[in-house]
């Protein structure tokens, strides 16, 4: 159930840069369903050649911006973690993404994994009620629409309450 301050919210997409193409694809799929998304900023290749100090600043700022988007109380509904296989590891979640999941958890955001439950973190992720989509994005879409539908219904009922 959504709270009163909630407006139409977005999904923040997370994951390794190896899955950047998949992030873009899933973002498009969600947009077709009327769900706004945010994907991580891709590196500007020409920033890779700036000085070490500046580069670390750029990386830090990009990470902070993404974390702020995840924890945004009003705008963010939840996160979608793209966790396909990587380097032979099933359902890969790297350290950065795991940290992003933890931030989402701490701010009561819904957490969806695009593929399956990674063996490496399964104890933690199960306890955190993370939802595996097994490649089926419709599970997320349905849950989102149900919650948003409830919220819209509540808003409409409140309007009627004022009339009677």
């Amino acid at each position: 159930m959504m709270n009163e301050s909630m407006k139409k919210q977005r999904i923040v997409i997370c994951g390794s840069m190896a899955f950047y193409n998949d992030m873009v694809q899933q973002s498009r799929m969600l947009k077709k369903e009327g769900i706004d998304t945010v994907i991580p900023e891709s590196d500007d290749p020409f920033l890779l050649s700036i000085s070490e100090e500046s580069f670390q600043d750029v990386k830090l700022n990009a990470s902070m911006r993404h974390l702020r988007k995840i924890r945004d109380h009003e705008k963010t509904y939840g996160i979608l973690v793209i966790n396909k296989d990587k380097h032979g590891i099933r359902d890969y979640i790297g350290p950065n993404t795991f940290a992003e999941i933890a931030v989402a958890l701490a701010h009561y955001k819904k957490i969806y994994l695009f593929q399956g439950m990674p063996a490496f973190y399964q104890d933690e992720l199960r306890a955190w009620n993370v939802i595996c989509l097994d490649n089926d994005i419709s599970k997320l879409v349905n849950a989102y629409k149900k919650d948003m539908g409830n919220w819209i219904e509540e808003q409409q009922l409140e309007l009627f309450d004022g009339l009677f």
């Binding site: 840069m17 890779l48 070490e52 396909k84 399956g116």
Partner: protein, 606 residues
Amino acid sequence: MLIKFPITYDRIFLHFFDIHFLELKGVNKEAKSIKQNIEYECRMATRFAILAANEVLVPAASFFESEVCHRIISEFEELYSFGIIHLVGGGTSLFEYIDDKLTQYASSSHQAKRYHAHQKRLHSHPPFLTRNNSASYDISKGWLDGAENGIFDKLAQGSKFHLPANFKNKWIKAPENLGGQAFIMPHIEPLLFESAAPPTLLNRISGIINEEYFKSFTSEFSSGVLTELCYLAANHLIPSYGPNLPYKDILNELRKNNLIQQIHSATAAELMQMKTNAIFQQSLSAAISRYEERTANIIMEISQTSEDFTAAKIGIITALPKEFAAVCAVLGCGAPISVPGSGAGRRYSFARIQNREGKEHVVAVTFLTDMGNNSAALRAQLLKTHCVNVQHIIMTGIAGAVPNPSKVSDHVRLGDIVVSNREGVIQYDFNKEHLDKIEHRNPPRPPSASLLEAVQLLQSQELLGQRPWDEYIDRAVHKLGEKWQRPSNDKDILKIGLDTIEEVKHPNDAERKAGYPRIFLGPIASANILLKNPVKRDYLRDTFGVKAVEMEGAGIADATWNSEIGYLVIRGTCDYCNSDKGDDWQLYASVIAASYTRAIIEAMPA
């Protein structure tokens, strides 16, 4: 940190230019940021390879089929005549290569169009290096090996989908059903699935094809690859047969030294000058040290947590390359993995074998750098260190037969299998030597009860007419080729006597199955001696009852005794320890020992 100058790699294979791999990464998508990042990474990775390696290998297919590859490689046109960059592919020339490719693709396909275009104006390209191996053959082989070695469990691992009915049959028939078409996902998918398949499953199958494809090149040319790629990271491991170049670490080190832009914009000639640039060499050295340190830590973690290293409870040690090859073929091992560190004794191939109860054994297979009991003991100890849960070590390979023509039930012939029994291994050079006599002091080292129990089980089944190892022998010989076949019986010649050497007729043996090995159980003699002395052989037979003579079993027995784990020695016989000792039977003997080893593993409870 130790800086070594100059650092050069023999060969680096540029796997990431493969068109199917790039498509998966989104190179054809309209999102500009993806294309830009992928092309940047391809370009920088290529430049790192040119800077670090003596030779850079590019699959000819990538050069002709992928625009990105063609564009980036063409930036180094002035290096073509120096042989630094090579295109690699099948056929005796590029013309033949292209002709062959045109038969593999439909004329309307993107690939066919590209090959036609290049065929018309084939003027500027890196020199062509002809392959001895065929990528299609290697992919098919890996594909079929996978079917025998638990690939279907791996495909669905951790996922909720199930494999479609009759999937295994379709998988096995797929290489044949391709009918000469290229072994790529668009051609394979319709052969496996009648309706839409789960995307994760398709990705994993695509990963298997890519992995075998890359392995076909890196194994043939003993080359390393670019690892630690960012946007171009693969869903599978990239099989490598040489030192690797860690992309992200190199990039980070170059950034510290403000060299990235210089490398990115360097002309081919400028890049060649940079190869010996001290700052570049320092950056490369630092990157490699960092990478090795990190992967060493990862392997340490892996040995505690990951599937293969921790799951392996059975280890197999072989002495000779032919023995290792036979075991890998029979067990369907994956590509060798090196444990980081220095010195030899760090390579393993893993196999997954289902036992009779349907449970899986993970088996670590390795080999010695040299023959003998000392090397064997050391290697067994290292195996136990790297694969901490190993409980059984099997020494598999060839040995000298100990014949006994006067007693048919003990008459071991060439092409037979000898398995150590409860008396284990007799170390016949472990002696106290007096002036007038030699006292044998070999310590008792019985094999483990559970391995002997598996041997007993196979024996009892043989009595019921079941000999699963025969099928593995047939399959392995088929897979490995004619050279590995059983030599004809007229090549099994036993001679006795010292002054007057005469041929002995082998006794008739009703227990033998024609064309297949007879299995013998008994003690096996072992020493650091290559025995070509039939008198000593017969002495060992009469004194200890040994049935075979070899050079590693005692080392394995000591090491496993020390580690408090079990061992077994399985030997295929290839000579009679006399002056006639030759190599004719060695390949076949390697195959039969490996096949019986597989049967033993299947008979072991998981």
